[in-house]
Amino acid sequence: MFKRIFQLLLLSFALNAGAQASVDTSTPDALVKDVTEEVLATLRTDPSIKAGDVKKAAALVETSVLPHFNFTRMTALAVGREWRTATDEQKKQLTDEFRTLLVRTYSNALTSFRNQTVEYRPFKMAPTDTDVTVRTQIVQPGGRPIPIDYALEKQDAGWKVYDVMVAGVSLVTNYRETFAAEMRTGGVDGLVKSLHAKNTTTTAAK
């Protein structure tokens, strides 16, 4: 069960993409929908990603998805309280490595996209809300729908995603315990090192 969930988790992240120019960032639900539809459109028309071209998938994620994510917040949430005492340099390293890890995994998952479609659940928010959850689900032939929720916060530059929950599993908070264990043995620098090692292995495996 988990493996399928994670595939979709990663896939969903990547689905949350699209060319920024045409994306409506004024409301969070419009943002999620526009970005998702753009990525779906790209996936449908570009057979090389389906064929397993991870590099191409990564490029799609890089140009379309990333602008709508707040990686600093995501990293801070995953790192937990050590974040407060980390130096600016350490924060930057952590964010870069975490971001690389996520992008790699999502790009990988994107290549397994087949015939799934995305449905958008009813969304309501007050005009004053600055922190909301947009609910969607991935519908796949032969499987039950997988709920994908996006947590967004309002910033000056518009709405930014800071977490994605797939079937109730938060991508960001799921790293907390692992990160905490790494930092207990090696401190913040130890975590950076582990993330870097992981990222380098993933690259080599590709």
């Binding site: 988990f2 801070a76 032969g142």
Partner: protein
């Protein structure tokens, strides 16, 4: 026959070896209050991965390769339809009669119009599929998670969910098939079909996890919370503002490890919305 016996004894000695290793490693726990027997769990996790790699995964790969997609879907639907019977019972005892009725409706529609459950017609008619089991029912009734456990073959559970699993087996219609041959075949096909349905995702989880054991554990625990709350777990505690971000491991647990292991967190843990992060992390369903 001899082969089977040998395999059985191999499996047995592997279990014995794994447990022995676990006893040794058991002392070296990382101190996660939700996972007091981490050493044992890690050993069983490794054992399960080994068995999966040697037996279940190759069979599932063959199944996926040979069976056309519509057949695979039909098999998934068939077992999903049978499972709806027990899901309905769970919804009923959780005090959700409307959901229980909808589940009965699904079984009726899918068993007839859906040709013995091979087609899931009911979802298209607006009768949504639910996911319930007795572990969730216990959670709904206020039973805490208890310690995290990795069961041989069955995989991740909590102490509560392991108890739930025993009841689920009792409530599984497949177990009441008279002919033992048919029964075992059904259990086997279901296992292979389930396994095949998540083959594609494996590289993704391997790519995502720094520590696969911990990643799977934490995802399981989050997933169960979400399921118990039918997809709407209390969310605020996930995202404390940065100033007060605490890590559970930095907070002195309010419950002793043994109390957690046997009864889990008190059901009142999530009544107070300002509960400490520790309480939030170990909170249980209580409504």
């Amino acid at each position: 026959m001899t082969n089977t016996k040998n395999q059985t004894s191999n499996v047995r000695s592997s279990v014995a070896a794994a447990l022995a290793a676990a006893m040794l490693a058991g002392c070296a726990t990382s101190g996660n209050p939700k996972d007091p027997i981490e050493g044992v769990n890690r050993a069983v996790f490794t054992f399960n991965e080994t068995v999966d790699k040697a037996v279940l995964k190759p069979v599932a790969q063959g199944y996926e390769y040979v069976m056309p997609q519509p057949v695979q879907t039909g098999v998934l639907n068939f077992f999903s339809n049978i499972a709806d019977v027990w899901i309905s019972v769970n919804n009923l005892v959780q005090g959700k009669p409307a959901d229980a009725l909808s589940d009965v409706g699904r079984v009726v529609v899918n068993s007839t119009v859906g040709i013995l459950g091979l087609f899931d017609v009911a979802t298209g008619m607006g009768l949504e599929k639910h996911e319930e089991d007795f572990g969730q029912t216990l959670g709904r009734w206020g039973v805490g998670d208890g310690a995290y456990l990795v069961l041989p073959i069955f995989g991740p559970r909590t102490l509560r969910d392991a108890g739930g699993l025993a009841v689920d087996i009792f409530g599984d219609p497949i177990m009441y098939i008279d002919s033992s041959e048919v029964r075992y075949t059904a259990v086997g096909v279901r296992a292979v079909s389930d396994r095949a349905s998540f083959l594609k995702a494996e590289s993704a989880i391997d790519a995502a996890a720094l520590d696969k054991y911990a990643y799977v554990r934490d995802a399981y625990l989050q997933r169960r919370q979400s399921l118990i709350h039918d997809g709407n777990p209390p969310r605020d505690k996930y995202y404390p503002s940065l100033d007060v971000t605490e890590n559970i491991l930095d907070v002195t647990p309010t419950e002793s490890t043994w109390a957690l292991m046997f009864v889990g967190a008190p059901a009142s843990a999530n009544v107070d919305t300002d509960a400490s992060p520790a309480a939030a992390e170990i909170e249980v369903a209580s409504h």
